[in-house]
Symmetry: C2
């Protein structure tokens, strides 16, 4: 399947997510692990699309997400910084996910600098994370069945 950059941008504007989780982790100095990830979730019927996107980017994994959902997921800092970020810098998102992407990049830069290993840096990352993914749309297609 031949992927085009603009199709991917449109699809990610609809279905993609730039997300940072901060989880308790006893082995980390701060007691917390910072985990940035880029994901696209789809019903399993379209899993071939997720594999095509994985092939396009040349990184990431396709995994079961929940029930009938599959997810394409990129977690590694190097893949995020060297592949995903340059792609979306060259091909800008058009929805407000562009805002989330900018915040995501700020957090990646802090992780790159090792800030996430220090209490103050971790707090700064938490502050940026608070500004992300605010207006998530919890829509049910059933609402359109009128």
């Amino acid at each position: 399947m031949d992927m085009e950059a603009q199709w991917i941008v449109g699809f990610v504007d609809g279905e993609g997510c730039f997300h940072v989780s901060i989880n308790r982790h006893a082995e980390m100095t701060t007691g917390y692990q910072v985990l940035p990830e880029f994901t696209i979730v789809q019903h399993k019927r379209d899993v071939q699309l997720l594999y095509a996107i994985k092939a396009y980017f040349g990184c990431g994994v396709v995994r079961t997400n929940h029930d009938d959902r599959m997810a394409y997921r990129v977690r590694g800092l190097q893949h995020l910084q060297n592949v995903i970020v340059p792609f979306f810098e060259k091909n800008q998102l058009r929805t407000m996910k562009q805002h989330d992407f900018r915040k995501f990049c700020q957090i990646l830069a802090k992780i790159q600098a090792g800030d996430h290993l220090k209490p103050q840096g971790l707090e700064e990352i938490r502050d940026i994370k608070q500004q992300m993914n605010h207006y998530k749309l919890r829509y049910s297609p059933a609402l359109m069945e009128t």
Copy 2:
């Protein structure tokens, strides 16, 4: 805002819907009205995108959908057949929405032929409609908050 066809296809693969509703309507011979529509629902924060898509296609309306959601909607048979259908024939969808689109086109052709005004045609339209939008994804982004 400059729209590109492939971005729109990707976005519609994520967020678009080809839908046919069959509603009771006393004034119709069959007692039912068949209403085909193409919609894209977004959080109101991205309403400017819906207006850009409306400008791109040169038809349709942007309306409040539900709560914080806005919808771009094309309902008229002529606009659907002369604008929306040719666009998605030229720029093919990549998800299984392509299947829904094909069924949608079959129903439009039946409406064009006046079949929706006859009991048997209406039943045929119902049969096709049954084959549409089966695997709608009811996802909650909160599930990704792990």
